[in-house]
């Protein structure tokens, strides 16, 4: 039955081929335009004042209010301080995550120590627990330690992840042989030297992917900063933007708000466009290899 239907298709002409090609191009280009339109709109608004934004028709081309929006934004939030906070949280979290997860993954992959299987299962089990269950006591712990309004509240609990260890272990199992480790031991390398001098350099691709995932997650995080950071000076960028929006005087100023949003987004967009291959493979690695 199907082959009969297929036979009628065989008489397709070159014109039909060209036509379907054009249709496909139209579809992917519409998709690309829709993906990009909000960014363009953001950039346009960032250059306008409230007067020209709240006007009919709305502005579709850049205006001349860019510098004024920047100066008005600085009246509400210390943008560069917030930028620095985000940078500190994301970099330190990423560094610690890479260090601890690769150590843990390597240990689970190479060493045969008592309790290994039980500890590993326990770790995998923790991945199944939704973080919502921990949220309220987690907040209580943070406030008892005295880390409300302290960036440590974001860095320390985020310094290692079960997923990261699991992921590193898979990478070590697939790419590093136990003989290599044994050979290094025979040569008199200490255990720490084996890991930091010999193994760690071999983990570069895994560091890259996990690093991008961790850094982006941390840089963009909103919920946990919202819960533990209450002052604008300690806020990370996404939270600072929300504070800017809540400001009674400037909050309704879409030009200022979009300027801040664009400026906060710019570093990650530049990084993404400079290395989109690595970003895409890093950010989908969890889904494709998990």
């Amino acid at each position: 039955m199907m082959s009969a239907r297929l036979k009628t298709r065989q008489s397709r002409t070159a014109v039909g081929q060209a036509l379907s090609k054009i249709i496909l191009y139209v579809i992917v280009i519409i998709g690309a335009v829709l993906s990009f339109l909000p960014f363009y709109w953001m950039l346009v608004l960032a250059t306008h004042s409230t007067q020209t934004i709240f006007h009919y028709p709305p502005p579709l081309l850049p205006g001349n209010h860019l510098v004024a929006n920047y100066l008005n934004m600085l009246k509400v939030i210390p943008f560069w301080k917030n930028f620095l906070n985000s940078l500190i949280v994301a970099s330190v979290t990423t560094f610690l995550t890479l260090l601890f997860c690769s150590m843990g993954g390597y240990a689970f992959a190479i060493y045969r120590f008592p309790g290994r299987n039980q500890l590993f299962s326990l770790m995998l089990g923790t991945m199944m627990v939704p973080s919502l269950v921990m949220l309220i006591p987690w907040f209580i712990v943070i406030s008892r330690i005295g880390w409300i309004n302290d960036l440590k509240a974001l860095i320390v609990p985020g310094a290692v992840s079960a997923f990261g260890i699991f992921w590193m272990r898979q990478y070590v199992l697939a790419n590093i042989s136990a003989e290599l480790v044994d050979a290094a031991r025979v040569d008199g390398c200490s255990e720490f030297a084996i890991f930091f001098r010999i193994i760690a350099p071999l983990l570069k691709p895994a560091y890259g992917a996990l690093g991008i995932m961790t850094f982006m997650g941390s840089w963009n995080a909103f919920f946990y900063p919202l819960v533990v950071l209450k002052k604008v000076e300690v806020a990370t960028l996404p939270l600072a933007l929300q504070i800017l929006r809540g400001d009674p005087y400037r909050g309704g100023d879409y030009g200022v708000l979009m300027f801040g949003t664009a400026l906060a987004m710019l570093p990650i967009l530049i990084a993404f466009w400079a290395a989109s291959r690595q970003f895409i493979s890093g950010l989908t690695a969890g889904a494709l290899k998990g």
């Binding site: 998709g31 993906s35 934004i53 008592p114 923790t126 269950v133 963009n220 909103f222 996404p238 990650i268």
Partner: protein
């Protein structure tokens, strides 16, 4: 005599175990950061949260034990039931169009008929690298009732402008869903594309020789082979979707409790409001456990219905 032998055997076993532990001490050092941090920021909160769910506590003063009252109240709480319904509706209504669009785009890019596939991939992926806050703000300005971009387009076409946040609250969910679809379609597309690229090209060639059209290739070859990948990505996005917070919070922030008629109130948003804004820590903890329970049940149903996708851990 036997007891002496037994004791000796046990002692030997213990000392052998101890020797193994000592020989591998480095491994314990390497894995310790996770277990230490988990004990403080994971295990203790999980247990304490369970205890809290049986009390009424505002964070200060006395903790009154009240049995399962919180749980009973929760199931009688209409707002909680609404938030549960909203969460499910938003998840389903966002994922169906997202998967369809992502599949179509992935198939087109994989067909080889369109050049610059890499460039298109990067463009579709861009929304995902930006923060939920930034993206929500941009959409908020597009959703403006009188001066937003979308209503401008609608009125230019002679259509009625949309009252996004008012009326019966009907448009609040579409606003959240549209934002979600825009942000995550590219990510799903890349995953599906990777799956499509793993399909043997000979299969397509054979079907093409038989005269199969592109829609037929899609329907009879690509889709069945992609099924496990689609299911796996669905399971991955399941927990994130059930605990969705940022988008509804940021879009309905001007209003309370998810906006008009609670239309944008998700379970996480309700939990946040109860726990952090109203200080009902016991009630919020009970809610957390119920949400966790729902996730476990639905995940089990998921796995029962579709089975564990091949190739996953």
């Amino acid at each position: 005599m036997t007891s002496v032998a037994l004791t000796q055997a046990r002692a030997a076993k213990v000392s052998r175990l101890w020797r193994e532990v000592k020989r591998n001490w480095v491994a314990y050092v390497y894995i310790s950061p996770f277990y230490i941090l988990f004990a403080v920021f994971g295990f203790f909160p999980i247990v304490f949260s369970f205890y809290l769910s049986f009390t009424s506590w505002t964070g200060y003063g006395q903790m009154d034990f009240r049995g399962i009252t919180n749980y009973i109240e929760l199931f009688r709480d209409k707002i909680f039931l609404i938030s549960f319904w909203n969460t499910i509706v938003i998840w389903v209504a966002a994922h169906v169009p997202m998967i369809l669009i992502a599949l179509a785009l992935a198939f087109i890019l994989n067909s080889g008929l369109v050049k610059l596939s890499r460039l298109f991939q990067a463009i579709y992926f861009t929304p995902m690298v930006t923060s939920s806050v930034a993206v929500a703000f941009v959409f908020m300005t597009m959703y403006g009732v009188r001066f937003g971009l979308i209503n401008y387009v609608l009125t230019s076409l002679g259509l009625q402008p949309i009252d996004w946040w008012g009326g019966t609250g009907f448009w609040i969910k579409p606003a959240i869903i549209l934002l979600f679809v825009w942000r995550w379609t590219g990510w799903n597309m890349v995953i599906y594309l990777a799956g499509l690229q793993g399909i043997d090209a000979e299969l397509y060639d054979a079907a093409k020789i038989d005269g199969a059209s592109y829609p037929q290739l899609f329907r009879y070859i690509a889709l069945p082979l992609l099924k496990p990948i689609i299911l796996f990505s669905l399971i991955l996005s399941f927990v994130g979707g059930i605990t969705i917070f940022d988008e509804p919070y940021l879009l309905t922030w001007m209003q309370t409790l998810g906006g008009t008629n609670y239309a944008g109130l998700t379970m996480s948003l309700y939990l946040y409001t109860e726990g952090f804004q109203r200080g009902h820590l016991g009630y919020a903890s009970a809610m957390a456990y119920v949400i966790c329970f729902i996730i476990v049940i639905l995940s089990a149903v998921n796995i029962k219905l579709f089975g564990r996708p091949a190739g996953s851990a």
